[in-house]
């Protein structure tokens, strides 16, 4: 018998979901995860869904989103009876990667992981919780703090699966690891995905997250990836989001860096309804280096929010951030860039820049640098511009016979290019260049390089 229940609050509804499904959530989960989940739920109940009055969530109205969603939850993995890697191929030319799939937050059970160097562990979080408890215990929930951030707490409370990547000391994974996150459902769906990436000392890898929707239904995706970089480790993390307008994408990447480690992140938001990328980098070892780049292209009623937090905890660390937004139609964007230089973190260098171009009068951008500097031996800078296309450059191009529309596109593309130029994998950079170009022309609403074999049930809707 189905009863219709009205809840006093969204938080209460979520808590009820949690308690009613606790057996499902804990199916096959170890004690560690069970305990962590309970603690996270308590923290979530204490904090609640953040309203716009909460400083860190000022520019994205999550109370509205969560009040409206009452979607089905993907408490169990979706099973497929065919080889995903035959069905879904990423046709970026000469782009040779190790591909790992997730469907609705669940690690795809036929992912191939046999070509990695010895000692490397790549598996589902679900199995890692049971089989690699020592590593998990050391890092899981230690980089992203459930007690201070409500979305982290919410992710931890409902975490069931994702990918676990462990790269031992001195191991270099040459080919990028491409993690393709697919959302596919026959009804509106709320998805949780939790990943943990641990790089040992002096190890290297490149990770690329591709986020897609393969159904017309609405989705809320609450993803969280914790990354540990050992001493001298090098990681490039690319994120390419290409989802439909009915998707709310709440993504967190939380990184902890040891001495001399190097991080590059590149967050490319091509398409999505409500997007919030939360990037936190904790520079915990001397001379660690973090470069964060991002490009958001929005139109219609889309919203894209970038929230970065760089914590300079040790001396001699270097961080650089360049984020750019191109906003068309009624779309809105936000950038909050926090840099915290701790006492004792001498010789810190921290730079930050956010440049936005508004294509229409209705588009809106909020940009807010937040520098907290508890130390006087530092070099810090921040800059933000919100403007229109450079009219002088536009006229110059026109006097060479290039029509206004084409000239504007060239300038927009040039604006975006500064971010794209930092993509270190050449075929990937070229492919993203092409995608951005098409996106700016309004020709594409999804990644054309990803092809699905026809006749299968996995159909990409045309939106």
């Amino acid at each position: 018998m189905i009863e219709s229940i009205t809840f006093e609050s969204t938080e209460q509804r979520i808590f009820q979901l949690f308690t009613e499904n606790i057996a499902l959530l804990n199916e096959g989960a170890g004690t560690l995860l069970r305990n962590d989940r309970e603690e996270a739920m308590k923290a979530f109940q204490r904090m609640g869904i953040p309203s716009r009055k909460v400083e860190n969530y000022k520019y994205t109205d999550l109370t509205k989103l969560f009040a409206l969603e009452n979607y089905n939850r993907a408490f169990r993995s979706t099973s497929f009876d065919f080889d995903m890697q035959e069905v879904f191929t990423c046709d970026v030319p000469e782009f040779d990667t190790h591909i790992l799939f997730h469907v609705n937050g669940w690690y795809f059970d036929q992912n191939r992981t046999d070509q990695f160097p010895e000692g490397t562990i790549i598996k589902s979080m679900k199995s890692a919780w049971l089989e690699n408890s020592e590593l998990i215990e050391k890092y899981y929930g230690k980089i992203a703090d459930s007690t201070t951030d409500p979305l982290v707490a919410l992710n931890s409370a409902f975490a069931q699966d994702g990918v676990f990547i462990y790269i031992p000391d001195h191991v270099v994974i040459e080919k990028p690891i491409q993690i393709i996150n697919l959302l596919r459902s026959e009804e509106d769906l709320y998805v949780t995905q939790r990943n943990l990436v641990v790089l040992g000392n002096n190890s290297q890898t490149k990770l690329m997250f591709c986020d897609h929707t393969l159904a017309i239904h609405s989705f809320v995706a609450n993803y969280l990836t914790e990354v540990q970089l050992g001493e001298d480790a090098v990681a490039d993390i690319y994120g390419i989001q290409n989802q439909h307008n009915g998707t709310a994408y709440l993504n967190g990447i939380f990184v902890r860096q040891e001495r001399n480690s190097q991080l590059i992140t590149n967050t490319i938001s091509l398409h999505g309804g409500i997007t919030r990328n939360h990037l936190q980098v904790d520079l915990q070892g001397e001379h660690a280096n973090a470069s964060l780049y991002g490009l958001s292209l929005t139109d219609k009623d889309q919203h894209s929010d970038i929230f970065t937090s760089i914590i300079h905890g040790q001396p001699g660390c270097h961080s650089n951030q360049i984020f750019k937004n191109v906003l068309d139609d009624n779309s809105t964007g936000a950038f909050t860039g926090r840099i915290h230089v701790m006492p004792g973190a001498k010789k810190t260098e921290a730079y930050q820049r956010n440049n936005s171009v508004l294509m229409t009068k209705a588009a809106k951008m909020n940009t807010k640098p937040q520098l907290v500097i508890d130390n006087d031996d530092v070099k810090c800078s921040h800059g933000a511009t919100v403007g229109q296309v450079n009219e002088e450059a536009l006229f110059y191009l026109q006097t060479r016979g290039i029509n206004e529309k084409e000239a504007r596109l060239m300038l927009m593309f040039a604006f975006a290019h500064e971010v794209l130029a930092n993509i270190g994998v050449e075929p990937l950079r070229q492919s993203i260049d092409r995608l951005v170009n098409k996106r700016l022309r309004g020709e594409v609403s999804r990644c054309h390089d990803c092809k699905l074999t026809e006749g299968r049930s996995l159909e990409v809707p045309r939106l």
């Binding site: 110059y396 026109q398 060479r400 290039i402 040039a414």
Partner: protein, 250 residues
């Protein structure tokens, strides 16, 4: 080719051009000289289609067509070229992509087949040699980080690529040392054809030692107050613009 009749134009509400009359025929080189603030650059910009300048009166025809009705890109495609006094730096737009787009847009306009990548590069190589531009410059973003001389050479290189019927050189000599000046002038002379025309807008006579004009006009307070042959350049050099002012009774 170009007929300007009683052209008046404003910038930010202030009248700068106050009745210009000028006719330019194929094969001619015209120099427009005059003291600072006389309206030389305004005239160049108005002809090129800069919408910051408002034409309030007069007409301009280019090969019989109403030039003032055309957008800047159409004017370019019809064969008008402006070499900028201050060429704009455009980071992120590569020289090659920019020129290829410009050349092919024009070809499409004239219903010609677009150049293939190979043909385009071949043409570019030839023109680069002709105007003696450093081959590395075309691998960079448009004007980005170019020296003053490189920017001006780049203007002439673009002119060589686009093969205009009428080229307007706005203070092309400013900021050039004597060697760069010679190279730029040489490029202009090499591009000269019996069916083309050139307007050299300049403050000084220096450039006109290299690009010899058929006609010289003095622009003062938004009007052409004196027109003569090339001998006027020497006279101006000797007597200065005050001589003109005196003649006008000022």
């Amino acid at each position: 080719m170009l007929i300007i009749k009683d052209l008046h134009a404003n910038v930010e509400g202030k009248e700068i051009l106050r009745g210009i009359n000028l006719t330019i025929n194929a094969g001619e080189v015209h120099a427009i000289m005059g003291p600072n603030g006389s309206g030389k650059s305004t005239l160049a910009n108005v002809l090129a289609g800069n919408t910051n300048y408002e034409v309030t009166k007069g007409e301009v025809t280019f090969f019989g067509k109403n030039l003032l009705e055309m957008s800047a890109d159409v004017r370019a495609k019809e064969g008008l070229f402006l070499s900028f006094q201050y060429p704009v730096e455009i980071p992120g737009v590569s020289m090659i992509n920019f020129l290829k787009t410009a050349v092919n847009e024009s070809r499409k306009y004239h219903q010609l087949k677009e150049l293939s990548a190979g043909d385009f590069l071949k043409v570019m190589r030839e023109k680069k040699e002709m105007v003696q531009i450093d081959s590395q410059l075309t691998n960079r973003s448009v004007n980005e980080g170019f020296s003053g001389g490189e920017k001006k050479k780049n203007e002439i290189f673009q002119m060589a690529m686009l093969e205009p019927k009428l080229a307007i050189l706005d203070e092309t000599d400013s900021g050039l040392d004597i060697d760069a000046l010679r190279i730029v002038a040489n490029g202009v002379n090499l591009l000269k054809r019996p069916e083309n025309a050139t307007i050299v807008v300049t403050h000084y006579q220096r450039l006109l030692d290299y690009i010899v004009p058929d006609f010289v006009h003095v622009l003062y307070k938004g009007q052409i107050v004196k027109s003569a042959g090339k001998e006027l350049v020497l006279e101006l050099e000797e007597k200065g613009y005050d001589w003109i002012k005196k003649e006008l009774g000022e």
